[in-house]
Homo-oligomer: 229 residues x 2
Amino acid sequence: MSQENLTKNIFSLSIPVLAMDIVIFTVYKWTLCLIMNQRTEDWSEKWKYILPGWVLRSWVSLEQNFDNILYNRTGIKWVYKEQLYTFWEVDRDPRWHVISVTYYALISSELFLKNVDLTKIHILDYSKIDEIQIWYDHKKIITYAKQRLDWKLEYTNIVKNILSTEFTLSQMQWVYETILWRKLDKRNFRKKISSLNILKETWKLDKSTNRPAMLYSFTDKELKIVGIL
Amino acid sequence: MSQENLTKNIFSLSIPVLAMDIVIFTVYKWTLCLIMNQRTEDWSEKWKYILPGWVLRSWVSLEQNFDNILYNRTGIKWVYKEQLYTFWEVDRDPRWHVISVTYYALISSELFLKNVDLTKIHILDYSKIDEIQIWYDHKKIITYAKQRLDWKLEYTNIVKNILSTEFTLSQMQWVYETILWRKLDKRNFRKKISSLNILKETWKLDKSTNRPAMLYSFTDKELKIVGIL
DNA sequence: GCAAAAGTGTTTGGTCTACACCCATGA
DNA sequence: TCATGGGTGTAGACCAAACACTTTTGC
């Protein structure tokens, strides 16, 4: 059944359409970015940015659905993800009642750029989202996802899902500073991170800067609750 | 359309059934309790406890749906509520794919007992849930709700939704101790609470104990993020 | 030799914890 | 007068924040 016939049938039962939308964050060129599609509205020529997503079918769990959307749009099989919230989406066509289960995800920009076809999906600067056209209430979802991301950065080791596997402490601090949008004290940051025992030295050096810096990696593979800031 | 015909039609489209289940907590006789219905399984005579809930229809927002379930089952029009999580429910009948949007809610036992018909809905001791029969994976939902409740107790003024409008500091401390299931130091508790400026004295006395105690009420109507413990 | 980023300690103020006794009332 | 729960303060440990200079390298 086509997507269009399906939604028509769903309307006739007077039940809501169940969909999934996903918010994918990355840090690219030291800037927090979103991965989004573009679509025209049916009744106009205007292009708008829209979160990757589609209408849910049976037989597939929510997590599997996420993975399918991700793979379909980016060619990537696994990223860190977390369920965000389930929204009742109000539409301008009053026959439409969409309930959208949303997830957010983190990806390192290296992994993203290696797999993706940039003619089909776009990477856009989070700080500019107020200036661009966004599909319906997807901006509300993005704002909610950003709040959750901020919180998780402060209280867990989630940041490892945005960093590449080896990184310097300065790079890690820059990621915190760009996402949380505030300056952190270098000495206090390093002291705190090293007291948490979540990193190990690789004893390799990053020579891309003037004075070479130690490269670190995370000791734990799993998400861990730790007060970072 | 009957609920049964509706679900049959939904299956034929091979989309998941969308439902809502709600977890209602209260503190009754200094014990954390759940408000649940009872239902027999179709193919057996066994009675099991089930969370209040039903299949979602169009035209009604998620929050409105919650209020409708609450009113239908308890006769109560408003309680504090929060969306919890959206679960993909695996059932023993493989044709069934249920996606359940869950909420949790808090209510003072006075308000609950004033409105409810106890032949239609039950109040049961949270600490005994391992000993009773619970519908499918509703226990998983309850456990998740309890974690969220614990967290919110520690970091917000959410406790006011379980207490009656005027209460003594000892009553407040008892609520924390029964829900979090640990002893708190009386002096430190009172010091912390009073430093937060979230309560005001009513200058009335509770004379039900030996030495009369000051009755307090909350200054803020809204949920507020404050580190309580 | 100088520009650029890496790396490193100490002091201070605030917050958390542990802990024990007197007070007001009802029975 | 005694049993019951209400109410109060202090000392030590720990944690967070503020703050500036030296080191290593590339150019």
